[in-house]
């Protein structure tokens, strides 16, 4: 279970999160929606451990462990996964090398032996197929020359390989056409399990036609200002965020 209590955070002295409370139990999919600048991506980065942000108050625990005290790679090996809004290109690092290094780091942390090369390739091929990612694409350096949609699918591929227990998806649906949204959603749905919690950040209700959430939260000015069931997303789609922007002001 992810428990965020009274979280305050700032970047370069600018307050972004102002007392955010959020609980996501295992097995549930929660969605955060809200206007631009409300702090959604900041929350995602803080969960993953990006050190540009300073947490000034509050706590974040994952399965009872203090997440804020852990390095980004420790968090990842403890089960936290952030699907980036803008996956970064890493020239010179082959995708397969990257995937293998990441997977082996996880296996090592769990006390498992490294996978043999054929086993690894088989595993990647199997998962990549389901996300319509070609092995040719994975011959390229990480995200280099990938289209926007390919980058997002590559994030989901990493997620399905690493099998995290807390999945944070930061606008994974933005910039995707409808087919890609379906592919990505299928990937996410395949990973849904009682042991796994999801936190989806999105602007659009559209994604929720494919991934049906347990709860929807509205974020504004660095706090959760409203929570509800999946119908809240439909309501937001109609009414927009104007009301919440006002709250921010």
């Amino acid at each position: 279970m992810l428990e965020i209590k009274n979280l305050h955070a700032e970047i370069n002295g600018k307050q972004i999160l102002r007392g955010l409370d959020l609980t996501v139990p295992n097995g549930e999919v929660h969605v955060i929606m809200g206007p631009n600048g409300s702090g959604k991506s900041t929350l995602a980065y803080i969960l993953a451990g990006k050190d540009d942000y300073a947490v000034t108050e509050g706590s974040v625990t994952w399965d009872g462990e203090n997440l804020l005290g852990m390095e980004p790679d420790e968090r990842a090996r403890s089960g936290v996964f952030l699907a980036f809004q803008y996956p970064i290109e890493i020239p010179g690092v082959a995708s397969m090398t990257f995937l293998r290094t990441a997977l082996n780091a996880h296996r090592k942390a769990r006390g498992d032996a490294e996978l043999s090369t054929p086993d690894f390739i088989r595993l990647v091929r199997d998962k990549a197929d389901k996300l319509s990612i070609s092995m040719d694409m994975l011959k390229r350096p990480v995200n280099v020359g990938f289209s926007g949609g390919e980058k997002k699918r590559h994030e989901i591929l990493q997620m399905s390989l690493l099998e995290p227990s807390l999945c944070v998806l930061d606008e994974t649906d933005s910039g995707l056409d409808i087919d890609a949204v379906r592919i990505v959603s299928d990937g996410v749905n395949a990973l849904r399990s009682p042991a796994r919690a999801f936190l989806l950040i999105t602007h659009y209700q559209r994604l929720l036609d494919y991934i049906v959430p347990d709860k929807v939260h509205v974020m504004s000015a660095g706090r959760i200002v409203r929570s509800g069931g999946k119908d809240l997303a439909l309501e937001l789609e109609k009414s927009g965020y104007a009301e919440y922007d006002a709250t921010a002001a």
Partner: protein
């Protein structure tokens, strides 16, 4: 012998009199014993070289080309030229070479500046190729060699070549006939060994006919921890459409000092690729002088510097475009830790009439410590109006966003850093066309990073 009096005070500026005087003194002692001492023509050349050297001596940082590599300060003494063979076994050479030992090649092993036939494996010399030891060749130098030696793209007043000409004891003379294609690289392996500091000088001469294809690998290693000074010079004359791949691995021990000059002249359509990998040595100065003498020729130089502690590595190039439509590339990547200093200097001269010249230079350094230093001095001197030339240089720390992405996938910090540094130098290592060598150096870089 015409050697000016050693009157340093008269020269007007302070100099590291010790090393300069020691070098001249060493020469006077060994000159009569050097290979080819019986050849008056050769002896005259050696004498002239040391006399030319004596005029200015070792350069200090006030000499523009040596601004970042102050030899007077860095080379405070000159070791005695190696006199006797050290006992070195094939297994020791192999272990010093590491993975590069496994490369299938025509191998010539030199120990302290002298060819060791027992350690070399020439195998079948391919048709159209002639490989001889310089020491043998100098005993009665053939006309063609005398015509080439010191005459390929000569550099006026260049002290590394001067010293090498004075002290050269051995090296590879490689002559390739028109159309010769070497399936295996020629691998020069130079080993310094023994308990005494020593000076060794190797001179290589490569002269090709038209359309030749060959690869030449130079490996410099040490056995043991003794200090050594190596002065190497290589002259390359590529005939029309000849293609040479020239790789150098500079991996001597942390006390070694290494000065090298490579002089290359390219005829029409010739294609020269150099990749210089340096992770050893206390002090290294690698100079390359490239001259485009024929149209539509091409020369690429790539360098990797992996330096730690107080290592100093300088890659300096002078590229002379004196023909139409030629292409030059220089790209050096340095990874520096501790108090290491990396230097890249490249001057591209485009002569009047050298139209459609395409020249690009790039130097990039990763500074992994606050005390590391990288000096980049790219220069363009253009006297033609239809050319495409540019240069750039960057230096900085590892990209934090890239680090975060890798770590967010569970990759520990050290491994993430290593992946990124390998990616950084990978761009240069990829230029190595020999699969085995590329892999060997990739692994070597990975071990350096670990």
């Amino acid at each position: 012998m015409n050697i000016p009096a050693l009157n340093f005070e008269a020269a007007g500026e302070p100099r590291s009199r010790d090393a300069t005087a020691e070098l001249i003194g060493h020469y006077q002692r060994v000159a009569a014993r050097l290979p080819g001492a019986d050849s008056a023509a050769l002896r005259a050349r050696r004498d002239q070289a040391i006399a030319d050297f004596a005029i200015k001596g070792l350069p200090n940082r006030r000499v523009e080309a040596w601004k970042y590599t102050d030899l007077r300060r860095l080379m405070s003494e000159a070791y005695a030229p190696a006199g006797h063979e050290a006992s070195v076994t094939a297994a020791e050479v192999e272990s010093a070479l590491g993975e590069a030992a496994g490369i299938d090649a025509i191998k010539l092993v030199f120990v302290n500046g002298g060819l060791r036939r027992d350690l070399s494996s020439l195998g079948a010399i391919p048709k159209g190729a002639e490989i001889i030891s310089l020491a043998d060749a100098l005993r009665s130098p053939p006309e063609w060699l005398l015509a080439a030696l010191g005459k390929i793209n000569p550099q006026q007043g260049e002290i590394v070549t001067q010293l090498n000409t004075a002290f050269m004891t051995d090296g590879i003379v490689l002559r390739l006939e028109k159309g010769a294609k070497l399936a295996r690289p020629v691998h020069l392996i130079h080993v310094t060994a023994g308990d005494m500091p020593l000076l060794a000088s190797l001179r290589n001469v490569i002269v090709t006919g038209e359309g030749v294809e060959a690869s030449f690998i130079e490996s410099y290693v040490s056995i043991g921890a003794s200090a050594a000074q190596v002065i190497a010079a290589t002259e390359v004359r590529l005939a029309a459409d000849a293609r040479l791949r020239h790789y150098k691995i500079s991996g001597e021990n942390e006390r070694a000092q290494h000065l090298a000059s490579v002089m290359v002249e390219l005829a029409e359509g010739a294609d020269y690729l150099a990749v210089n990998f340096a992770d050893g040595m206390a002090l290294a100065r690698h100079q390359s002088f490239l001259k485009f003498a024929g149209n539509a020729s091409r020369a690429h130089f790539y360098g990797v510097q992996l330096l730690t502690q107080r290592q100093h590595c300088d890659m300096t190039l002078l590229i002379n475009h004196d023909a139409v439509g030629c292409e030059s590339r220089e790209h050096v990547k340095a990874v520096l830790t501790g108090h290491a200093q990396g230097v890249f200097q490249a001057k591209v001269i485009v002569q009047p009439g050298a139209q459609q010249t395409d020249g690009r230079q790039m130097a990039q350094a990763l500074l992994l410590s606050d005390n590391a230093e990288f000096d980049a001095k790219p220069e363009l001197e253009i006297y033609a109006d239809d050319v495409k030339c540019n240069h750039g240089a960057t230096s900085g720390a590892l990209d934090e966003d890239l680090m975060f992405y890798l770590r967010a996938r569970g990759i520990p910090e050290g491994e993430a850093r290593s992946l990124l540094i390998q990616a950084f130098i990978g761009e240069v290592l990829e230029q190595i066309e020999h699969d085995g060598l590329r892999e060997a150096l990739g692994n070597r870089a990975a071990r350096w990073l670990a």
